[in-house]
Amino acid sequence: MADLTSQKIPVTVLTGYLGAGKTTLLNRILSENHGKKYAVIVNEFGEIGIDNDLIIGADEEVFEMNNGCVCCTVRGDLVRILEGLMKRKGKFDAIIVETTGLADPAPVAQTFFVDEDVQKNARLDAVVTVADAKWLADRLKDAPEAKNQIAFADVIVLNKTDLVSPAELNEVEARIRAINPYAKLHRTERCQVKLSDVLERGAFDLDRILELEPEFLEAGDGHDHHDHHHGHDHHHDHDHSHDSHNSGGLKHYHDEDMQSLSLRSAKPLDATKFMPWLQNLVASEGQKILRSKGILAFSDDDDRYVFQGVHMMLEGDHQRAWKDGEARESRLVFIGRELPEQMIRDGFEDCITP
């Protein structure tokens, strides 16, 4: 299947609140000497000044699917545009979809799960969110769209870092981490980020779900790139109840309505219990769950099972055999709004083999 996947055109979704620097990043991607051709889908009424041969204006029409679930929405215009673009296969290597500053990324992502024809030809590579270091903290308070975009992101480009002090930068980063500790975060000025950090991420590729650990950062060390992992293993499972506390110099916040929840078990799971539980969970709580991911060890199964989801949509597969000596540990993460934490924890506990 690897070959088939690689033939599909990768699609990067570029999101971010108004003025964060989406167009700057887009122009950087397009102007870099990478030898690749991009088809760019922008909002028809969006910012101008994008220099590219293949640029398509989109209407951002969000359609509800008639399958009974209210949060199952797709971008109808995107279905049509991707179908049209596929007539020009070979004329471009990848697609970038720039959303408006107020857009919810979910319908864009769900388009790639729901539509059969889109799935056949294209694959969602990653949701990249550009955030304004100076104003994001304010937007997280007054703009639910901004919070959605942070929560949904696989990659966060924290831009305009030159406009804030190191302390303010750490502050906004801690606010981001309170919502989404799993995204790759890059601090930038004028969106100066390596293209390999935003493109070809394979964030929705089941084969590339390797680990599910929060991205830890050290506060105030003054480096531009903070995306390196640290060896120590914090258990950052949001079991703290107070609003903020210090941990290794980086403040930990708890966002009022958007959280991440991480679950783990060293004992194998019972697949006959886990699968129905997960499906019921996303069916009933899918509106609250923005993203979910998991690496699972089932009893009587020598393969790692991986899954990922967007709201109510799930996809999962056996990934590979567990390696000798590899800890057969199950990990799940949920990012969402007002997650029913105790209910999820209890449900998960019931799926663990005695």
């Binding site: 209407d59 029409e61 008639n66 797709v74 109808g76 279905v79 049209g84 007539k87 059969e116």
Partner: protein
């Protein structure tokens, strides 16, 4: 279920594969229409290839990019492109520019009226130009998914999100709105003008009896319906989208209401194209594995036109007399069958 295995089953079905004139169009093909005895194969981009009965191929440059939609009235094929142009190509290969979008938007859909009117859409705007009259446009509530002219009068069905707008371009009356939740992507009128059927983004069809706007839900498809064709006289509507051709009965005044569709020519592959014979109760069906069958409606008897083993069949058409069948797979491997 059965599978056409050229080795074992070749003898068990009547085959006319040896009578097909093979063609290599040399480009991905998305549609075919007959202009008299010439087959016009529509490429995925830039080119329409005219092919005469001797198998001679004449490519005609029509667009400076992708070809997004096509319609034909038997004398011309009209194509809309991502170059914002609407272009007519006739049997001699003469190209006429019909319209250019002012903002160079994609021309997403096109429809032709038997008396010469042409309709097209770009984004949320539908346009109509009838024979001599000036161009008219109409803004829809959402992007136009499909267009169809009614067989009588100048009436245009515009499919979009949550329903269909019936627009009489030459009348001042407000357009009629037929509501049904969901995204409607294609539309056809029955030849007797009594029914309107749309294909939906979900794998289903929706229909209205126009006399009383009664709804007809036609569901159960595993995949989206992309190809529809009326049988001779409009007695049934043949559709793609399943691993058999789904035929909805339209002969009675209630159409398919309360009736089961016929399922003909099942294979272990998805039907990608259907084309009913213009005069006889026969249809041709193309499949996702490249197979093409001719099927008799009354008893389901099958004749093999093309064996499996290629990309999906994307183009299939009869000429008006019903003496020629043209087809192509996605990769441009094509053929002509003279009956």
């Amino acid at each position: 279920m059965k599978e056409f295995d050229p080795g074992d089953n070749a003898a068990s079905i009547v085959s006319v594969t040896d009578r097909v004139r093979p063609l290599s169009i040399g480009m991905p093909v998305t549609a075919v229409h007959f202009l008299g005895s010439q087959a016009a194969f529509v490429g995925a981009e830039e080119t329409v290839a005219l092919v005469n009965t001797a198998g001679e191929i004449s490519p005609v440059a029509v667009h400076g990019g992708g070809i997004l939609c096509v319609a034909s009235d038997g004398t011309r094929v009209v194509t809309g492109g991502d170059d914002g142009r609407l272009v007519a190509t006739d049997a001699k290969g003469e190209v006429t520019l019909l319209a250019t979008d002012a903002k160079r938007r994609w021309i997403d859909t096109v429809a032709l009226h038997p008396e010469g009117a042409v309709a097209w859409s770009a984004g949320k705007t539908a346009f109509v130009r009838s024979g001599r009259a000036e161009e008219k446009s109409f803004a829809m509530p959402s992007t136009v998914g499909g267009l169809a002219f009614a067989p009588k009068g100048l009436r245009l069905a515009v499919a979009h999100y949550n329903g269909v707008t019936l627009w009489f371009p030459n009348m001042t009356a407000n357009p009629e709105f037929l509501e049904w939740a969901g995204s409607h992507l294609g539309a056809v009128f029955s030849p007797d003008n009594r029914f309107l059927v749309t294909t939906m983004h979900e794998p289903s069809l929706h229909g209205w009896r126009l006399a009383d706007n009664r709804h007809m839900r036609m569901t159960g498809y595993p995949g989206r319906v992309r190809s529809m064709s009326w049988s001779a006289g409009g007695k049934a509507l043949a559709t793609s989208g399943a691993d058999a051709v789904i035929m909805w009965p339209f002969a009675s005044k209630d159409g398919p209401m309360g009736k089961e569709p016929a399922m003909l020519a099942p294979l272990q592959a998805r039907v990608s194209m259907v084309a009913c014979h213009p005069k006889q109760d026969i249809f041709a069906a193309g499949y996702s594995d490249g197979t093409i069958l001719m099927v008799r409606l009354n008893d389901g008897a099958e004749i093999l036109v093309r064996k499996n083993g290629t990309p999906p069949v994307t183009a299939l058409a009869w000429n008006a007399k019903g003496t020629l069948l043209a087809f192509a797979a996605e990769d441009g491997d094509a053929g002509l069958l003279e009956l």
